[in-house]
């Protein structure tokens, strides 16, 4: 358990250090989407009524999935590949599954972080055209689920490759 918390501590330290670039990555893409589809196009009136209600959870899900994938799965692919850095973590007194679980949790944390940042921004941008409901929010939570599943599947396939 100590090792698990320490691993989490290590990953969060890295997240904190790379926060500016992380935020930029997280914010830029959805911001452009919302600006065009949620602000400009409704203004011009070429988009159906209610479209933005779908757009907000969609953008949210998208940014959560992408950000956690970029932040966890891609570095993991490098760790497993040429840098072998994963062996540094595997030296810790914790099972392989424990290291995997920790990575999944870090991915989820980053996804939530991305959601927290993107949600108010997107909402601000297209608030005039929005009829936000609770179902919309739940919907978006559904969308974020694949992010953690994605990092898990990368982990598993890499583990199989290793043996």
């Amino acid at each position: 358990m100590t090792a698990f918390i320490a691993l989490l501590h290590r990953d969060l330290r890295v997240v904190r250090r790379e926060l500016p670039s992380f935020l930029l990555r997280v914010v830029l893409n959805p911001l452009l989407f919302t600006f065009i589809f949620g602000f400009v196009m409704p203004r011009m009136g070429i988009i159906q009524h209610g479209y933005t209600d779908m757009l907000l959870p969609g953008i949210l899900g998208l940014s959560m999935t992408l950000s956690s994938m970029q932040a966890v799965s891609l570095p993991l692919v490098i760790d497993f590949g040429w840098s072998k850095e994963i062996e540094d973590r595997l030296l810790a007194p914790i099972s392989i599954a424990g290291v995997g679980l920790e990575k999944i949790i870090v991915g989820v944390i980053q996804a939530i972080l991305a959601g927290i940042v993107v949600m108010p921004l997107a909402w601000l941008l297209m608030r005039v055209h929005l009829h936000l409901s609770l179902t919309g929010v739940i919907n978006s939570a559904w969308w974020s689920a694949p992010s953690s599943r994605r990092s898990k599947s990368v982990w598993c396939s890499q583990c199989c490759l290793r043996r």
């Binding site: 100590t2 090792a3 320490a6 691993l7 501590h9 290590r10 330290r13 890295v14 250090r17 840098s83 072998k84 850095e85 994963i86 062996e87 540094d88 595997l90 030296l91 810790a92 007194p93 914790i94 099972s95 043996r163």
Partner: protein, 328 residues
């Protein structure tokens, strides 16, 4: 009870009939038998060497002992714990210096040490203290807050050892720790390892440098193609090479055939080569041989101006065991 402990030789590493076969990844690939029934035991406090050429199976052996590779057969135990069955308990007891650089590239040198200790649950003030101590010991203190991207090979190597020592392991595994170091750094590394061993740390080291194994290790296992060829102390191993010792005599007025022929009768001599003013004696052992040779020279009025005795090298031994040189 304490006394008794000193008498019982406790094996901290036990390897029995260890096998590892790498299955081909591509359909047409061939199976690689990296280890083919290796067995050895290492008592506590020993400096043990695994010597072998490229592809001998050294890294695979260390990989299995450090829980990073699963064996396909046989038993490997650390302090009596099976590495395949309880890897977490094994990891707690060992420090690992791998062949490749797998240091954490997202952290600074100091953080690498601190977090590693944190994984092992070392209390905060303790890990701060030992990180500082190790950084100073390894002359990395002034680069402590840098990431390792800009580090030289020697610095990376030292930091890898520092990391392995952070949680105060009972056994240290080093996979070719001096490959790529200049002679000076290598010497410093040898001193460091000797010092650690003298403090009671059990060390298992792999190398393909003969002189390194010779210098450091109390016992050496020579492996090639996944098989154990020999296991003994460096001195004993060298003694086992027939005709391994070489005595060179420089003589004044031309070593005529009769002197060379008379040397042949001496005990332990395997072969004599005489040319011009130089006589080479290949022998199984040297005790008393030089004195006898000098006596013969005196009897025959041959003037010896210089004599040189060279010990058999592990290089010769390897040639003797495998029929090929270590460097091939």
């Amino acid at each position: 009870m304490e006394n008794l402990k000193n008498y019982i030789v406790e094996n901290v590493i036990t390897v029995r009939d260890l096998k590892k076969t790498f299955k081909p990844k591509a359909r047409k690939g061939v199976e690689v038998k990296a280890l083919d029934g290796i067995a050895f035991e290492v008592p506590r406090g020993e400096f043990f060497g695994l010597l072998g050429p490229n592809g001998a199976g050294k890294t695979t052996t260390i990989g299995i002992l450090t829980t990073r590779v699963l064996p396909t057969g046989g038993v490997a135990q650390i302090e009596g714990i099976d590495v395949a069955r309880d890897p977490v308990s094994v990891k707690r007891r060992i420090g690992v210096v791998p062949q490749v650089n797998n240091l954490d590239r997202s952290l600074t040198a100091k953080e690498i040490l601190l977090f590693h200790a944190e994984y092992f649950g070392v209390p905060k003030h303790e890990r701060e203290e030992s990180a500082q101590r190790l950084l100073e010991r390894f002359e990395l203190a002034d680069r402590a807050d840098e990431k390792i991207n800009g580090f030289s090979g020697g610095m990376v190597q030292r930091l890898k050892i520092g990391r392995a020592l952070m949680h105060d392991p009972a056994i240290l595994f080093l996979d070719e720790p001096t490959t790529g170091l200049d002679p000076q750094s290598r010497r410093a590394m040898w001193d460091l390892l000797t010092e650690l061993n003298q403090k009671g740390l059990t060390i298992l080291l792999t190398t393909h440098y003969m002189e390194e194994a010779d210098q450091l290790c109390r016992r050496i296992a020579i492996i090639d193609h996944g098989k154990l060829l020999a296991l003994d102390s460096p001195a004993q191993l060298k003694r086992s090479v027939p005709g391994g010792y070489l005595i060179e005599l420089q003589v004044r007025d031309g070593a005529n055939g009769s002197f060379g022929e008379s040397l042949r009768s001496l005990l332990g001599v395997v072969e004599i080569k005489a040319e011009n003013d130089r006589v080479r004696i290949y022998a199984d052992r040297v005790e008393g041989l030089l004195a006898n040779a000098m006596r013969l020279a005196g009897e025959q009025n041959v003037m010896v101006t210089d004599a040189h005795v060279s010990e058999p090298s592990l290089e010769n031994l390897f040639l003797h065991l495998t029929g090929r040189s270590l460097r091939e």
